[in-house]
Amino acid sequence: MANLKTVEKKTKAQSMGMHTETLTGKTQQKFFNPDEAENFFYWGTYDVDFNKRTDLDVKDLDCMQANKKIDELMSEGYGTIVIKNPQGKHSLGVGILNKLNLIFEGSLGYFGVGSIDGPIVRINGRVGWSCAENMMAGKVVIEKNAGSCFGAAIRGGDLICKGSVGARTGIDQKGGTIIIGGDAGAFTGFMMQRGRIVILGDVGINLGDSMYDGTIYVGGKIGSFGSDAVESPMTKDDIDWLNRKLKVAEIGDNFDVSKMTKVVAGKKLWNYDALEPTEKKGAI
């Protein structure tokens, strides 16, 4: 494994296909660690104990009632909550800005665990469209399949689906890592801006269409490349990072990552100046 401390960050990022990102190794979650930020106040967070565990049956609750109950349990210090009978309901577990072990014993509908920042989530079923949309930090593991727009616009954290996912996975992704154990549909990585997507299986047409930046790794066949998505050579940094990530994600045992196809932005579609407006102003 490459020694992260001895590699210049920008060089390493570019080695892994990024054009603009510098790897900091610092997650959003760490940024929001109250111990590090004095006078920091994050509304809706609680001091929870992971060893304090409870079950919550949501069979007869609607999503608002269920989410409110999760919030109440966190306020009582429960750090591990097991949700029973989710039965495909929409918008369960959304907006959790807290460290928490959240386990769903069943499947979720649309917008499951959206806009979360910090919890570790395990879903022992399937998820519908837009799972973990706008996720900031934390880890989400789905044991079965996922619908379309999986991880739309995520900014951080690890989002792992052990099955297959629908179309537009990682659309507008701005950071973080998405790992798919099975296949992915069309327009995977559509307009992604940063972050990484790893697909061990096949992927559909228009992969990485109009991507600005970020890196996509594909283990199987690619339906077609999208506009401005180009293949790039795998580097040792890629291989080291992939092996480490897959191990942490508990997925793809003995998978030969060196044979994966790496896809990055060709930059041909970039139609904006290299400098952001504020930087340009400073230069003037």
């Binding site: 039965q87 495909g88 309901k89 929409h90 069943g106 499947s107 509908g109 649309y110 079923g125 399937r126 519908g128 469209w129 079965k144 399949n145 996922a146 619908g147 379309s148 099955g163 297959s164 996912v165 629908g166 179309a167 537009r168 296949d183 549909g185 069309a186 327009f187 559909g204 047409i205």
Partner: protein, 313 residues
């Protein structure tokens, strides 16, 4: 937005009326304007089931109007006269609402000529013809329509349904789904999405003698498939051709007397969740539709872009 649902039991019959009602009611938030069912019932197969309407039930944005019941009754008399002229024998007739009827008829000639003759009567539309197809659609949610037409006791093998949010056309029965695959007996279609080459296709198909009853873009799918089948294509072949022949975003279901199919456009822009086992296939726009009949933990998945699947009873 609209919600669609479908199910097929393989090797047995079930209370598909109630099952589809539950699935569509779970999707009510996707389409509160009207609800439609195409149920493939355990009829004896001896006679054609003719479902037709002689007027409209009208909601917001419709170009149609509600009329007095006496007008409907007069039209019904003209339909009866026309049936007699066509040589169709009415075995049983039921008045379901002031504007809609279910007939059992004996008829052994060309269905296209039959349909043209019946629909030449002002404001009369055939909702469906088939040996097992019972196509019902009206304003209101799934429960309201089911109660109005007594659907929750219909035994059969399969069915498709639609909860409609009116976007392309008004709130009325003629624009509601499912659409009958005129002039083929026992063919029906439901659709979620928008078709952007509707008018081009419509002009071409009308020139080939096909008929459109509404301005709803979804009707195009039924007519498109019917025209392909009329020229010898199988249902599955027609569905595969629709992936390139129809432009826009769509997920649609099509059903025949003994099969159920789904197709998803190449953009995969419209949702579909699918459950498949040896005995049952159930699918809907959202998983909660499937959960309404299968509350236990099950494995489901989203079909990919450009997928076509067909199952037999």
């Amino acid at each position: 937005m609209c919600g669609i649902a479908g199910l097929i039991h393989r090797g047995k019959s079930s209370n598909v009326g109630e099952e589809l009602q539950n699935m569509l009611q779970a999707l009510k938030h996707r389409g509160p304007d009207s609800t439609g069912y195409a149920l493939y019932a355990d009829n004896d197969g001896q006679n054609f089931i003719l479902r037709f309407k002689v007027g409209e039930n009208v909601g917001e944005g419709s170009t149609s109007v509600n009329e007095d019941e006496s007008v409907y009754n007069e039209r019904k008399k003209i339909v009866d006269k026309k049936l007699s002229e066509l040589g169709a024998l009415v075995v049983k007739e039921q008045k379901l609402t002031p504007y809609s009827y279910r007939y059992e008829i004996k008829y052994d000639k060309d269905l296209m000529e039959f349909s043209k003759a019946i629909e030449s009567i002002q404001s009369v539309e055939i909702l469906s013809i088939g040996k097992s197809l019972e196509l019902i659609k009206d304003l209101g949610d799934a429960t309201a329509v089911s109660e109005r037409y007594g659907l929750n006791k219909v035994q059969g093998t399969h069915g498709i349904g639609h909860a409609r949010m009116a976007t392309e056309s008004g709130v009325d029965i003629k624009s509601a789904h499912p659409f009958w695959g005129y002039p083929f007996a026992d063919v029906s279609v439901v659709h979620n999405g928008q078709l952007t080459n509707y008018w081009n296709n419509r002009r071409v198909l009308e020139n080939k003698g096909m008929r459109f009853m509404s301005e709803c873009d979804s009707e195009l799918i039924a007519v498109f498939l019917a025209e392909k089948m009329r020229n010898g294509a199988t249902l599955e072949e027609g569905m595969k051709e629709s992936l390139t022949g129809l432009d826009g975003v769509f997920t649609y279901f099509v059903a025949t007397k003994d099969s159920l199919g789904m197709a998803k456009d190449t953009m995969a822009a419209k949702p579909l969740v699918l459950y498949e086992s040896d005995n049952l296939v159930a699918m809907g726009s959202e998983e909660i539709a499937i959960r309404s009949i299968l509350p236990q933990e099950i494995d489901t998945y989203d079909p990919f872009d450009g997928e076509v699947k067909v199952w037999q009873t």
